[in-house]
């Protein structure tokens, strides 16, 4: 597809949205090309629905511009935009039958009666609901309601159709059918579809372009194959498809060290001895004899998945997932071989692993050898350390020194879990408090986009007194 300026139908420039001090969209930029099927993909709370509502006109961004077909449309109410929406809960009008629901938009626009009849009929044919005109919408099944909702929006002949997780309420089988039908409808009507979902499979199946979002920013924009094969960071790799994500060190161009083994790869330009994330897709690992591979492990679990076997392999304390059509039984030792092209190297999402934060000593007790400090809005006691009252401290704690307080009493409350990525041995969790981000190691699967109390293990902490650099 050509990327000329005229191709762009919707353009978001530097969009910023916040509710009650919480940032929902953090200065995002997005261009959507005409007649494409674009999917906005991300976990719940990432800002994808908000993005859709901004295009639909139901929400005004705090700052930033929205362009439609080259014209700025900030402040334009929904009914004046050439955009229609299929809502999450379909939102069919219960007091109207199928025909009247679909005709609703045209009647508002005073389209002549004969034409309304003709267009509703055509639309019902497209969504495969011929002869359903007189039915009451509350008597339809979920899939049929869905199709009426699509017909109702499409019959208005919008340039862009917005779909907000429209298949979320359907069961798996129906969802698969509707996925391919949606794609067909999009091609038949030659309309731009902007589709919001948290289901990565849905995104890969239907889209021309996938926009991966997380925490109010766009992580990656690309074709389904691009985002799958060339994810920009560990979050995208983890969110789209299954992946083995490991900590590695880039020794030099094309040489990466993973689990103390040096492997050949094709990536360049990371510098020397740079910590990186290494991503290997489960289907890219070839099972060979132990003596033929550098990485050797023991199969600990095998699950038959229909097309392939999913094997869990323990290799140097790390869990690997392998997809293979041949089964290696539990207990066998195997070699794992990956061709250099299939080893993806990406920059770490989080560079500072020291978790340095600043604390004010607000009172101290020499006999007890303890201090009370203030960090952000919390105050707590640290035992085994003594500093004078008024001292400003820089405290560093490694990721293993952070934990989520199971009893609900933490040093910092309401810390936001931004992402959870399994790195073979542990989960690597990125947390966000009022003033900074934190990296935590955990063996527990935590729920993303929730708020938790966080505890520090001060036995692992390093203390440093800040002198003269207080206000820096």
């Amino acid at each position: 597809m050509k990327q000329t300026k005229n191709d762009i139908i919707v353009s978001l420039k530097d969009i910023f949205v916040e509710f009650d001090g919480e940032v929902i969209l953090n200065h995002i930029n997005l261009d959507i090309r005409d007649k494409e099927f674009v999917t906005i993909l991300g976990p719940s709370g990432c800002g994808k629905t908000t993005t859709l509502r901004i295009i639909g006109g139901f929400l005004e961004p705090k700052t930033g511009e929205v362009y439609f077909d080259g014209e700025k449309i900030n402040g334009l109410p929904p009914h004046k935009r050439n955009v229609n929406t299929v809502f999450q809960k379909y939102s069919l009008f219960p007091h109207l039958n199928v025909f009247d629901n679909i005709a609703f938009g045209m009647r508002i626009k005073k389209v002549p009666k004969d034409e309304i009849k003709k267009r509703v009929k055509e639309m019902l044919a497209i969504v495969d609901l011929k002869g359903y005109e007189k039915r009451s919408v509350s008597k339809l099944s979920g899939g049929q309601q869905q199709r009426v909702a699509i017909a109702r929006a499409l019959v208005c002949d919008p340039k862009v159709l917005l779909l907000d997780e429209p298949l979320g309420a359907l069961d798996l089988k129906l969802r698969k059918i509707m996925q391919s039908e949606l794609k067909q409808i999009q091609q038949k009507t030659n309309t731009t579809f902007i589709y919001v979902t948290h289901d990565q499979e849905e995104a890969l199946t239907m889209s021309d372009t996938v926009v991966v979002m997380n925490n109010g920013i766009i992580e990656q924009i690309g074709s389904p194959t691009d985002v799958y094969n060339e994810p920009v960071n560990a979050f995208v790799a983890d969110f789209i498809g299954e992946a083995n994500i490991l900590n590695g060190v880039m020794i030099d161009d094309c040489r990466v060290r993973v689990l103390e083994e040096e492997l050949e790869c094709v990536d360049k330009g990371f510098g020397q001895n740079t910590p990186v994330d290494v991503v290997i897709r489960p289907e890219d690992i070839e099972v060979v004899k132990p003596e033929e591979a550098k990485l050797v492990g023991e199969v600990v679990d095998v699950v038959f998945k229909g097309v392939h076997y999913e094997m869990t392999v323990m290799c140097k304390g790390c869990e690997w997932i392998i997809h293979s059509t041949e089964c290696s039984p539990v207990g066998t030792t195997i070699g794992m071989k990956v061709i250099p092209f299939n080893i993806q190297i990406m920059n770490k999402m989080f560079l500072d692993e020291k978790n340095t934060f600043y604390a004010d000593v607000i009172s101290s007790d020499k006999t007890e050898n303890s201090i009370t400090v203030r960090v952000e809005d919390s105050e707590f006691e640290i035992e085994g350390h003594y500093y004078e009252e008024g001292t400003k401290l820089a405290i560093s704690i490694p990721p293993s020194g952070l934990s989520i307080a199971g009893d609900g009493v933490g040093h910092l409350d309401d810390v936001y879990i931004e992402s959870v990525i399994f790195k073979g041995e542990h989960n690597e969790i990125i947390l966000e408090s009022d003033s900074q981000k934190w990296l935590m190691q955990s063996d527990v699967d935590e729920q993303v986009a929730t708020y938790v109390p966080v505890k520090f293990d001060f036995a692992k902490a390093e203390f440093r007194v800040m002198e003269g650099e207080n206000e820096a």
Partner: protein
Amino acid sequence: MKKLGKIYTALIMFFMYMPIIVLIIFSFNDGKTTVWKGFTLNWYRDLFKDEQIIGALWNTLAIAIIASVIATVIGTMAAIGINNFKGKKRLLIQNASNIEILSPDIVTGVSLMLMFTIAGVAFHFQMGFWTVLLAHITFCTPYVVLSVLPRIRHMDYSLYEAALDLGCNQWQAFRKVVIHELMPGIFTGFLMSFTYSLDDFVITYFTRGATFQTLSVQIYTMTHQRISPKINALSALMFVAVIILMLIINIKDRREEKEQEQKVRI
């Protein structure tokens, strides 16, 4: 145990409705005392010949219909407004509206009388039809708010957005979609207003001025003079009218519940 429960319920019902049943029976009594002297419809005939009573009936109906219609409009608008408020403000306004329901009629009546008297002196008018109407609108509106507000809260907001999305401006979206969703609540509010307005004695008594009569006030004045069985006949008719209204409300609610159940099943 189950039997005991039934007997208990029967007794409660008996004591609750006995006086009214007695009243209805004696409205057909061919005599002026509480001794049964045979069946007659004379009191009903007399009732409809009594111009004062018929005049009062028309007044009552006129007040009830006009007041409940106006209260329904104001109450619905108020409910939508209240729903748009957030947090403490909403609670405050909602409770301010409920206080009117909770406060004793006599307080409402006396305070309205006081206000109308003062205003009457200032603007040279006498209490009568219009003051009673205003008073009825005042006490009916909160009932409409009370029945419409939950409907708004449970309405799927995206229905409104869907209407906007399909080309409606805000007013069209309200008229073509939102009002249909709120209709059951609006209708219940209207019926409640109508019933309470028909039923009211205390507030009307204080705001009616010297000459304006409604049925309840008429009955009250009649008991002052001499006890006529016409009162029995009139009370019986009013009771039947209220029963019919209540039945309509209940049947309607029941039907809605069934519809809801069906939707849930789907």
